[in-house]
């Protein structure tokens, strides 16, 4: 494949579009699909066929504003239709050339769309994820062809370093540095692994990227393979994401067909192939050494580092592991240059970040903003604020390894460092908004239950410590705790975080620590007054009985 051939494919797609400029693109990513958008798509197809109008009907990926789904995007005028039902098909097709029905109209002039900057999501909702040609027409695989024909591996690593991209799985390790380490490690066989084991509850960014634009991730992985000298890649994806798996399988097949995977890609001395490995629903497998153990067919238990996977990873070979979103950034970085990417974001956190905005917020969905965007802007402008007259209480980021951020820290610019400062972490990008109906002690207990049952059991601090902490938190929510229990809980937080083997245990106390830091009075109320102000916990009931 050469750049000319890519252009030819792009031109063919363009010509087909010009021949039939009208189109209805139905979102068939997980969110809208579970509202039966596939039925809407076939209803529209039938209607188009029945009336004989010249209009394409296609399925696309996520358009972002999931709470107003199912969404349909109209071409060529770009009108967005919300809450579409099967019954609307006739009217939509009938009014193809005029203004769509008022009740279906979803303005793109609202802050939800205007405050976003799309890099990873640039094609999401615009192309058909099951057609490689559409990805190519959207400048896809250009970066790969350029990299293989015009760039040396070291130049690619340099470009990625220049972009300032940091690991989007949450830890924020500089991606360029990681690539450089694997590239420099001597070894005849090296591997590239894409971590798509998106386990944080409340996070669905990677799922959306895989379902909406799978080729972007493949392209990033192939480029990485060339840059570090690997010839085999693995995508480790959750079994809970069947649609993402299906689209990835189709994407890999198509990429092989066009010669982007296989031997002598683009006539370069470079061969690379990708296989999918399906996870087994173990949260700990998001940790890189546990993930490697799982690919090797074993129980997913972590091991101490060093050696880091860059030196000794899969089958003891040098291995590059990056998250889905990290790989998804690569094609754009190479196409537009590392400097361009570095111009977005803050001093230490470059580029954009995709967040899954959910919970008690008006606009639920998938967003992408430049690093450094204040939380207040994300929640109250993009997210549209808190519905049903409730008050904002906290926003939870980073899943079970993160923390709850209170109102007074809302003007914080979102980046790796400042989130850490307030006791949370960037994490993979789940952002769950909570209002005054949430009890923070109960939330801490919820996450501790999660860590307790997801602990792999290998090291004692995590296995026994999380169970003890869960027990203490249960006493608090059920109204049987004493002030000593709180002291013990704080001691355990310190012990578990400083002595656990892997990130799961080390960060398990974070939800407790952050809620203690900002909502300590709620803990005291539960322990001393046996009162839960949100009315969620059992202790209220207990207080009533004794009164």
């Amino acid at each position: 494949m050469t750049l000319d051939e890519l252009e030819q494919i792009a031109n063919e797609v363009q010509a087909a579009k010009e021949k039939s400029p009208r189109a209805l693109n139905v979102c068939v990513a997980a969110g809208c699909l579970s509202l039966h958008s596939d039925a809407i798509k076939s209803a529209l197809e039938k209607e188009v066929q029945r009336t004989g109008v010249n209009c394409r009907v296609a399925g696309t990926g996520c358009m972002g504003l999931c709470s107003l789904g199912p969404l349909v995007n109209r071409e060529p005028d770009g009108q967005l239709l919300k809450n579409v039902a099967e019954a609307d098909a006739a009217e939509i097709v009938e009014k193809l050339e005029s203004v769509p029905p008022e009740r279906l109209l979803c303005s793109r002039e609202q802050p939800f769309f205007q405050r976003q900057t799309a890099v990873v999501l640039e094609n999401s909702g615009r192309i058909n994820p099951e057609k490689i040609e559409e990805y190519i027409a959207a400048e896809g695989y250009q970066a790969l062809v350029r990299a293989l024909t015009e760039m040396a591996p070291a130049q690619i690593v340099q470009e990625v370093s220049k972009s300032g991209l940091r690991g989007r799985g949450g830890a924020g390790y500089p991606t360029g540095l990681k690539w450089g380490t694997v590239a420099k490690t001597i070894g005849t066989t090296k591997y590239v692994i894409c971590n798509a084991d998106e386990g944080d509850p409340g996070a669905f960014m990677d799922r959306s990227v895989l379902e909406s634009d799978p080729h972007r991730v493949l392209e990033g992985m192939i480029v990485a393979g060339y840059a570090v000298g690997a010839s085999q890649g693995y995508i480790y994806v959750r079994a809970e994401y069947p649609l993402a798996i299906k689209r990835l399988q189709a994407a890999i097949r198509d990429a092989r067909r066009l010669g982007f995977l296989g031997s002598q890609i683009c006539n370069a001395k470079f061969s690379f192939d990708i296989e999918i490995r399906i996870g087994g629903g173990a949260f700990v497998c998001g940790e890189e050494t546990a993930l490697i153990a799982s690919i090797e067919g074993r129980r997913g238990t972590p091991r101490p580092r060093p050696p880091f996977p860059a030196q000794s990873g899969l089958w003891q070979m040098p291995t590059l592991i990056n998250n889905v979103e990290s790989f998804a950034n690569i094609p754009t970085i190479l196409r537009r240059g590392g400097e361009w990417y570095a111009s977005l974001g803050t001093k230490k956190s470059k580029g954009t970040k995709v967040f899954a905005l959910c919970g008690k917020v008006r606009n639920v969905g998938l967003i992408e903003v430049p690093m450094g965007t204040p939380l207040r802007q994300i929640i109250f402008e993009i997210g549209g604020g808190i519905p049903d007259g409730h008050r904002f209480k906290a926003v939870q980021t980073g899943g079970p390894s993160g923390g709850c951020i209170p109102e007074q820290s809302l003007d914080l610019p979102v980046d790796y460092e400042s989130l850490k400062e307030v006791g949370s972490i960037m994490g993979s990008g789940g952002m769950i908004v909570m209002d005054d109906s949430a009890c923070m002690v109960n939330v801490a207990r919820y996450f501790m239950e999660f860590c307790m049952s997801e602990s792999c059991g290998k090291c004692i601090p995590c296995r026994a410590g999380t169970a003890q902490m869960f027990e203490l938190l249960t006493r608090m929510t059920s109204g049987t705790a004493t002030p000593q229990d709180l002291e013990l809980l704080e001691d355990l937080c310190d012990m578990v975080s400083s002595t656990s083997l892997c990130g799961l245990g080390q960060s398990a106390p974070n939800p407790v620590l952050s809620t203690l830091r900002y909502f300590r009075e709620e803990y005291t109320e539960h322990i001393v007054d046996k009162h839960c102000r949100a009315g969620v916990c059992e202790c209220n009931h207990l207080a009533e009985v004794s009164a």
Binding site: P201, A282, G365
Partner: protein
Amino acid sequence: MPITSKRPSLPSSDKRWRIVAGTMRRHGFAREALIETLHTVQEYFGYLDKPSLRFVAASLRVPLSQAYGVATFYHYFTLKPPGKHTCLVCLGTACYIKGAGQLLATAEASLNVKAGETTLDGNVSLVTARCIGSCSMAPAFIFDGETAGNVNENALRSKLAGWKN
């Protein structure tokens, strides 16, 4: 290296075993194919029983203890046959703060089982998930493989009632 010990023959004439064997063959009967193979068994048989674990372990030459260890380590694998219907409650954070905990209690009460169990008549299995990634439609359920969003008490009750024999 010549392979001396013979691989076990298929447990029965059930065609599904051939699909299982196919998965192992595709991976060259390598030990690391254990998880992939167990996925295939569960996909076609619905669960992993002792004969299937023995067959897979022997075919891939991994100790039975390791196969059992893997099968019990990963939540996705189940050693018990599933009910005719499956009601999956998502307990992800977004679902939880929108009341998934109460909905689970409702389901437990109306089916008279605890999460992870199957009704005595084998009709309904009640299972939970950490997060199914449908946070935008919290609280989310999966009824027999079909995701349902924004589920409330009434919708849940009527869905479960509809499954009664």
